[in-house]
Amino acid sequence: MARKILLHDIDVANLTDFNVYRNLGGYTAVEKMFKNFTPDQLTEEVKKSGLRGRGGAGFPTGLKWSFLDKKTDKPRYFVCNFDESEPGTFKDRHIGQLNPHQLIEGMILGSYALGVRTAYVYIRGELFYVLKIIEKAIEEAYQNGFLGENIKGSAYSLDLYCQPGAGAYICGEETALLESLEGKRGNPRIKPPFPAVVGLYGCPTVVNNVETIASLPWIINNGAEAYAAIGTEKSKGTKLISACGHINKPGVYEIELGLPVEEFIYSDEYCGGIRNGNKLKAVIAGGSSVPILPAELILKTAKGEPRLLSYESLEEGGFETGTMLGSGGFIVMDDTTCMVKSLLTYARFYHHESCGQCSPCREGTGWMENILRRIDTGKGSMKDIDLLVHIAKHVEGNTICPLGDAAAWPVASAIRHFREEFEEHIKLQQCRFTK
């Protein structure tokens, strides 16, 4: 069995109760923090652990913290990004719903390291029932002296609140999230300045993903070295992979980074193989934004080496033959799946979710959806395929935020790897999978 850091206690009954969490050693990292670490030492420890942002971008967490502008006397903010909305991703919900105190403990650790007095958990509005679980846990943490004035008799005080979104994928982009938290439309900001300098209310702010923050208690309890000893050279620690689609056992799995993809898909410890004994056709390995790969390239790299669930192995081959770890949203498709229709659902998603600020994304996502709908309904023409590639190319890299890239990559990669299927769809003027 693989080592569990995030999900070690996830099956314990009533884990959402403070006392249950506490009896399992919960909040000892906060006690250790006060005893052994100054805020700067805590940041150093997180840097040493090699923890990278688990929301999708994979940026080193300690490094992100060290960018926080400490020269100003403005207040600082720490914000948890719980806007989990990337199709295929449902790992943060798992933590928030089943182990909210782990997240709160991580929020206390991060806030202390950053010198923050007020922190927020921004959670997508659809997950209001999870927000209520977290708010109840926050209340318990206050009652037990882990939040509020002079935490556990120390000089450190922290207030923590939850804020719901209201249905907008774009608010997972950190500057859009901050706009939304300020009560505005979720339009991403132009960077620089980065939130570390000009963030919430114009103050220095760090935004981290739920899973990233929930990893902190283990790191402080067990030490950076212990965390860095797990995984591979460039991918330290464990990662939650939320697996869905045509597999026998969909769910949230914690893996040690570096696990072979083949083992993840076929072993009974994880996905348990493809449904009905069908053949694997394709995988979107890191949430819908990352390039799709056909079976042969997700199981083995173009060089013929086994593909591993790690940042560097999934990136091997670049976008020609590789992909990205992203958020860990692992979408598996068997050989009954129509690639045109599959792609159409994502194109519609990005069109719906584009905030509309940048013309290439606002217009391009709509064009891509329309063209794909045309092909799907049997009215496409051969030149539509190159037109899609052309549009994707001109959306990518030409927008304020990465939503443009996120909308372009699925289109470009689906055509790169499954072009014949698009051609066949156009030729037959119908789908051979749904008849």
Binding site: T89, F90, K132, G183, I331, K341
Partner: protein, 177 residues
Amino acid sequence: MQEKQNISAFKSETIELVNKIINRYPEGRQKSALLPILHIAQAENNGWLSTGIMDYVALLLNLQPIEVYEVATFYSMFNLEPVGNCVIEVCQTGPCWLKGSDEILAHFEKRLGIKPGETTEDGKFTLKTVECLAACGNAPVIQVGTDYHENLTTEKVDELIEKWKAENKVSHSNPYL
């Protein structure tokens, strides 16, 4: 735009909750409370945001009405037209589609006799399609109010519709309570 309607102010318990939420943000940053307050306002206004209720929220938070309208029109959870008592939101993004969300949606359409975006004549049900609800491991998924219904089949849809009909299901209630 809908006609302005006379709206009664929030109940005193709701005002208490509103003030508690406003206090979570620094002095002068009460605009941050806009999303939570709009969720409450929608729930207390039969599941949708009329111009009247938005103007009232603007008043509560000391904002210009346009600051409320521009936010309400941005977020997909806010309904800007009247809705039925029970709003059914069917996820249709890739992972749900792989597990048969098309059939689930078609079944709702058939059973209720309406298309997405429509409300039944008796005002009981509104059908909506939504994008990824972050529950892909239990696809196909729908949301009704704050409840998720997962691993749906057409049989389960039938059961749910019968249950909602029997209890006169109202999906909008103050999500904080």
